[in-house]
Amino acid sequence: MSFILNEEEQMLRDSAKAFLAQSAPVSALRKLRDESDPVGFSKQLWASMAEMGWTGILVEEDHGGVDMGYAAAGLLLQEMGRTLTASPFLATSVLAASALKLAGTDAQKAAWLPKIAAGETVIAFAVDERARHNPDHVETRATKDGNGFRLNGKKRFVSCGMGADAVIVAARTEDDRINLFLVDTGAKGVERTPRRTVDSHVPADFAFDDVKLDGDALLAGAEDSETAYRHVLDAGRACLAAESLGVAEEAFDRTIDYIKEREQFGQPIGSFQGLQHRAAHLYSEMELARTLVLKALRVLDETPSQAPLWCAAAKAKATAVSRLAGSEGIQMYGGVGMTDEYDIGLYYKRAQAAGEFLGDDSWAAGQVAKLAGY
C-alpha cells in the first residue's frame, strides 16, 4: 500500500483542479443558491463530468467506465471539496455505483452501470430515517407481493434526491435483513420533498407509500446483501472524508493567505504568535487527516476487509478537522468572515453538512471504539 499517488492519479488530480476552477468554482454554487435551483446541482456540469470520465470512475471498463478505484474517486471529491462543487458524484458515481457493483446481478449491472458511466442518469442512495446517521435503524419495509415487492417507509435528507431519476433504498425484507432496492423516483406512491440545507444543497425527504416494485428492483447479486450495504457506506464515508479534507485544505489555504495580508496594529495579523501557533496546530491536524483519508481510500481498493475501521477513522478525523478549519477561518478573517460576501463561511457550512452525512465525528469515533474491540 503506497501513500504516493501514481502518475495516473496525479494527472487526474491536476486535470480535476484545472477543470473545476474553470467549470465549477465557488461562484457556481452561489449561482445555484441565489437562483434557488430546484435540484441543487447543474446537469450541464454532470454531463461535462461524464465527458471527463469521472462519472464512471468506479465502473468497470466492460460497462463503459474507467475503473480507477476509490483512491481516484476520493481525489476527485477532494478537489470538489476545494471548490465546493455540488454534483451527484458522491451519490451516483460512488454510492449507487458501489451498490450496483457489490449487490447487483449481472443484468442489473449491465442495465445501470453504463448509464451511470455515461452520465445519463442520476441515482440517489437513501439510508437514513432519523436525524442522525444510523445504518442499523432501517424501518422501511419491502414486503413480498407476487413476483415483486411493496415498499413502505420514509427516508430523510437523501443527497441529490430532488434531481435523481432513481433511488437505491435500504429496506428490510421479511427476514428482517437489510436489502437494497432500486426505485424509480417517478413511480406511483413515491413522494419527495426538497430540503434546502445550510450548504445550499437540496437533499430530498422521500416517502414510499405502498410503492409497487418489480422483482428485479431488488439488488440480488450479493451473497450477503447487508454486508454489501455496509461496505457501500464505508466507501461513502471515505469519499466524503476526502471531500471534507478538500474543504479543510482550501479554507486553510485561504485563511493563511488572508492573515499574511490583513494588517492590524501595524503588522500582518499572521505575524502574531497566538494565531501562528493555532495555524501550525491546524496544519498538523490536517496532516493526520490527509493520511487517514488516503489510507482509507487505498484500503477500499486493496484490502477491503479493513475498510470499516479505517473509513470510520478517516470520517471522524476529516469531519473534526474540516469543522476546525472552517471555524478558525471565520475567526481569523474576523468580521468579514461573517459576511456572505466572503467565501470562508461557505466552507464552514459545507464542512458541517458533509460532516453529518453518513456519521459525524462522535458517531464515527464510537464505531472505531467498537471495531477496535472496546
Binding site: D128, R130, A131, R132, H133, R156, F157, R195, R196, T197, V198, D199, S200, P203, E263, Q264, F265, G266, I269, F272, G274, L275, R323, S327, I330, Q331, G334, G335, V336, G337, M338, T339, D340, E341, G345, L346, Y348, K349, Q352, A353, E356, F357, D360, S362, W363, A365, G366
Partner: protein, 392 residues
Amino acid sequence: MSLEEFRAETRAWLEANCPKSMRSPIKSEADICWGGRNWEFKSEDQRLWLERMAEKGWTVPTWPKEYGGAGLSKEEAFVLKEEMRRINARSPLDSFGIWMLGPALLKFGTHEQKLEHLPPIARGEIRWCQGYSEPGAGSDLASLRTKGVLAGDHYVVNGQKVWTSYADKSDWIFALVRTEPEAPKHEGISFLLIDMDQPGVTTKPIKLISGKSPFCETFFDDARALVKNRLGKAGEGWTIAKYLLSHERASIVSEAGFGGLNPVTAAQTAGEVDEKGRIADPILRGKVAELTIDGLAFEATMRRVKEEADHGEGVGARASALKYLGTEINKRRHELNMSALGSDGLLWEGDREEDGEVARNWLRARANSIEGGTSEIQLNIVAKRVLELPGG
C-alpha cells in the same frame, strides 16, 4: 421617600399605567421599541407605554430630570426594575442612545450638548447608531481612517464605517473620526455626532453567512458635522471610545446566561435519545456533559462576579475573561446543538417560519467571539492587565 414607599408608589403606578399587552415577555426582535424619527409603533399600547414612561423619566430612570430622566438613585432604579419584572413589563424603549451615547454624553458632554441630545433619546424621538469599526480597523480600532476636516463651524467628513447596527433605520450616528492627521494614532481622533439626514451620508445593509442582519456599511461623502456636536476636545475621541468599550464589557456581566436551545433538548426534539431518555450517542453525550458543566459554571460565575462587583471588588479586566468564556462556551453550545440535531439542524429554508433558525443561530454565534473585541483581544487584555505579563 423611603425605598419601601418608593416601591409601593411604583407598583401602584405601573399597575395603573402599564397596558396589558405590554405585560408579557418580548417574543421576538419585532416586539422591541427602538423609537426614532421614522418609528412605526407596532401597537397603540406600545406608543402609550413609551409616552407614559418617558413622561415619568423612566425610560432612563437614573439620568437627571433636566435631561429627560427621573433622577433616581441606583437603589431606586433597581426597585423600578424589580417591580417591572414582577409584572413582566416590557422595556418601553431600547436604544444605543440609552446604552452607549447617553453615558458618554453624561460623562464628557457640555451642558448644552446634554440639553440638546439627551431628552430626544429619553423620549425615543431620535434613534442613534454607533460608527466605530472600519474595513481596515477592526481589532486595531485606533488605526481608523475616516477623516474630518475643519471648515468654519463644521467638519467635512469622508470615509466609511462598517458594522453599524441598524444604520439604515437610525437618525444620527456617533462616530470616531480622524480630525488631527498629524497627531499620533491615538491622539488624532475626535468623537463626532452626525445627523444622518443629509445627502453626504448613505448606508448599505451587510448580508451575513447567517442570513439577513441588522448591520450596515455607512459611507460619508463630504458629510457635515457641526463642531458644536463634537463630544470632548478635538483629539479626545479615543479616550471617550475606550470609556465606552470598557462600559460595554462591564455590562456583559449583567447579562443573563444562555437562553435558547441546548443540546439535550435538541437531541430530544430530534428523537436521538435512548429508552432512558439519555442522548443516544455516548460520545456526543460526553461532550454535552462537559458543556453542561461549563454552562453551569459560567452562569454561576456571572452571578459571582456581579456579587463581587457589588461588594466593591470591581470587575475590571476580568470582564475580558468572562467575555472570552461566555462566547466560546456559547459557540460550543451551538455546535453541539447542530450535532445533536443531525441533518435536522442543517435545514436552511422551509415552509415554516422557524425553519433554518437553528442553523442561523449557530452561524450567528460565531460572531460572538469577534464583535465587541475578539477572543484574541480579550486574551491579550487578561494577559496584560490581569496577569500582568510583560511585553507587547
